[in-house]
């Protein structure tokens, strides 16, 4: 086998049983790796009746086939499970330095089931792995645990750690890699916590990679690296971070403000944008393994109520979710709130979105001090957000902490179903910080049909609609107008395949932007020997997409769950997109037709599933239906 090692670690934390699962080349070829392969293993290993936080639930982490190759944006991995936030398939991708080390250790991934009797870590060293009790780490923040682990296992060890939020089962707790990079979305940290696993630690291993075409890989790395570095988007990301164009997004109406009630605020645009972050608080840039883009921010706030020591700084999503969405233009406060989310191990998007929902409900009188335990919620009140709300969510403390730790959909339902109208989510996953009403109507479709819920990175629509990529070799040469539905369902068909490929081959969606589709497939073939034609690669992408929808079907989701909330579809109240309606129903209907999906069951027809080799999976889902 090339690129991949063909071996996955299996650990049952309840019984202590560990084994190495060997996978056939065909499984890799059919499901690529990363999120596709993880979804396939989830199908094989999951107990579909298990509660996401129960002992029977599984958590699966799988490397991309390119992890360990010294090329920018390719050393990443995906995690998959059933989400405690949505009840649907959870998936999240992460870069950093852990994925190549796992590959060099000889493994492509880890399947974790059961529950340890005491808080523990999974330790991987010299190619072997075991569970080690680590009660002393429980209760520690991500940063504190990181320091302790480094002391014990050495400076060069790499880590995946959960914070107090994961330990307490907050439904949108995340997993941090080396206390900076995150498996952010869908509550994967809570699942790790429910297994009593505080961390996964890997010691450095010797760099060994076997490529299918050694010389070709080397020449591709040589050719692509300078291009990736010089690409305009890479330069912007390096200099200003992913928040580099918040100001630009603001003018197009893409940034949701005050819980999606506004699409324009000039003060926020200026004060929160990436260039301001660079000028005021950036001390240096950070990066992921082998990446020349180095988009990560290291920041320090020297003085004032929001002072923080040098450490990870906010990305665009964090700036918008903990700034614009909460009605604050205080960048120092955003840096501190973001840092707190990191330390507690909370997804900053769901944290910001859930607090924003509560602020609006409180303002309208639908949430009262009785519900919040006497805490007053006000737009832009960052001292309360930082000192009270975020810590109480992370520890599920008090009525407000308990309420908001459920995420916006469940929190709304638990007060009054009517309060769903203030949420901005799909399938229970809070939407990212790109408002389809201004960012592009295709985003609305992408959020609704993404298997994990409202998400702009599980498909490639975000980049295709905003003109960040063009793939003439597979028929994508549309010059799309953002604020219409024209050609969006057709684009979405390709976007599902491309997104699946990106998340399964685990290309970083920033670093790979200057690559053509043929180049992505070319590097995949040269490393892994998949022998994909462009069509084969697209088919693998669609296969993965349909499999994920079959998984969701087994969790009870149907076509009607491919929906957006009232708030996301009402005409924007101000800014560039003011008053424009999204033709959501038309887009989704057409997309279902183009994808041959049943508009009640929400999965592909039997014939379509057979076309992608999903006969057994189709038989289970469609038979169950009858």
């Amino acid at each position: 086998m090339y690129g991949n090692t063909g071996k996955v670690i299996y650990i049952n934390c309840s019984t202590g049983k560990t084994e190495i699962v060997s996978l056939d080349e065909d499984v890799y070829k059919n499901f690529i790796g990363g999120s596709g392969l993880a979804a396939k293993l989830f199908w094989d290993y999951a107990d579909f009746d298990a509660d996401p936080l129960s002992e029977k639930a599984v958590l699966i982490l799988i490397n991309g086939p390119l992890a360990g190759v010294p090329l920018s944006g390719t050393s990443r991995m995906s995690a998959v499970a059933r989400s405690p936030l949505t009840g649907a398939l959870a998936e999240s991708s992460c870069g950093g330095y852990f994925p190549p080390q796992l590959r060099y250790a000889g493994y492509d991934g880890i399947i974790i089931s059961g529950k340890c009797t005491v808080p523990s870590i999974i330790h991987i060293a010299h190619g072997s792995f075991n569970i080690v009790s680590s009660e002393e780490l429980w209760g520690k923040t991500v940063g504190e645990a990181y320091v302790k682990i480094k002391e014990q296992y050495g400076e060069r060890s790499r880590t995946l750690i959960i914070g107090p939020a994961g330990e307490h089962g907050v439904s949108y707790a995340c997993i941090l890699s080396d206390a900076h990079h995150a498996f952010g979305r869908c509550g994967l940290g809570a699942i790790m916590g429910s297994k009593n696993i505080k961390a996964i630690v890997i010691e450095p291993h010797k760099t060994i990679m076997k490529y299918f075409e050694e010389q070709k890989v080397k020449s591709l790395i040589k050719e692509l690296t300078p291009r990736i570095k010089e690409y305009i988007i890479s330069q912007v990301l390096h200099e200003f971070g992913s928040a580099g164009n918040l100001e630009g997004h603001m003018y197009t109406g893409d940034v949701p403000i005050k819980n999606w009630t506004s699409n324009f605020n000039e003060e926020m645009a200026e004060k929160l944008t990436g260039s301001t972050l660079t000028e005021k608080y950036l001390t240096k840039t950070g990066t992921c393994a082998y990446c020349v883009v180095a988009c990560k921010r290291i920041v320090k706030v020297d003085e004032g109520p929001y002072s923080i020591p040098e450490g990870p700084g906010p990305e665009y999503e964090t700036v918008a979710a903990l700034g614009c969405l909460l009605g604050s233009s205080d960048l120092a406060a955003v840096c501190k709130a973001g840092r707190l989310c990191n330390e507690f191990g909370l997804d900053s998007i769901s944290t910001g979105a859930t607090i924003a929902w509560a602020m609006e409900a409180f303002e309208k009188g639908d949430l009262t001090e009785k519900d919040t335990g006497g805490i007053t919620l006000r737009w832009g009140d960052m001292p309360t957000v930082i000192d009270t709300i975020i810590p109480s969510i992370a520890r599920k403390e008090g009525p407000l902490g308990q309420l908001l730790s459920k995420g916006s959909r469940l929190a709304a339902k638990s007060i009054n179903n009517n309060l769903i109208k203030y949420t901005a989510q799909s399938k229970g996953l809070e939407a990212p910080m790109h408002d389809p009403r201004g960012g592009g109507h295709g985003h609305a479709l992408a959020y609704a049909v993404s298997p994990r819920g409202a998400c702009h990175v599980s498909t490639a629509m975000h980049f295709m609609e905003t003109g960040a990529c063009n793939y003439p070799e597979i028929g994508f040469e549309f010059d799309l107008e953002a604020l219409t539905d024209e050609k969006k369902p057709e684009t979405m068909v390709l976007a599902t395949a491309i997104g699946s490929i990106e998340n399964s081959a685990c290309f970083c969606q920033y670093a790979d932007r200057s690559l053509t589709f043929a180049e992505m497939v070319g590097i995949l073939n040269a490393v892994s020997g998949y022998h994909y034609s462009l069509q084969d690669a697209l088919d693998a992408g669609w296969r993965i997409y349909h499999l994920k929808r079959l998984i969701n079907h087994r969790f009870g989701l149907r076509a009607c769950d491919d929906a957006l909330t009232e708030r996301m579809l009402e005409p924007a109240r101000d800014g560039e997109p003011q008053g424009i309606m999204i033709n959501f129903d038309g887009m989704i209907q057409r997309f279902y037709e183009l994808m041959n999906m049943d508009n009640v069951e929400g999965v592909a027809t039997v014939d379509t599933l057979h076309k992608y080799g999903l006969e057994q999976e189709a038989a289970i889902v469609w038979k169950k239906r009858k």
Binding site: V236, G248, Y251, T252, G274, T466, A468
Partner: protein, 78 residues
């Protein structure tokens, strides 16, 4: 006879803030957005849009003396 001139204040937004720091551009009195686009220098490969009072302008909109025009880069992302 030489055409009358108008003064337009140009402000770069986001990643163009440094490059296009607030400054005045002098154009012919019948100038349109397109003429302004030709006059300012932007990094190669960067798509841009023009805004006046928060509203996007297409390239054939006429400019007026004293207008403040935001030049917004259309970089995806985040």
């Amino acid at each position: 006879m030489e055409k009358k001139k108008i003064g337009i204040t140009v402000e770069g937004a986001g990643v163009l803030r440094k490059e296009l720091f607030k400054h005045t551009v002098t154009l012919d009195c019948d100038a349109r957005v397109e003429d302004l686009a030709k006059k300012i220098k932007i990094k190669k490969g960067l798509q841009i849009a023009f805004f006046r009072n928060g509203k996007r302008l297409n390239r054939n909109v006429k400019l007026h003396d004293g207008d403040t025009i935001k030049v917004v880069p259309l970089v995806f992302g985040g």
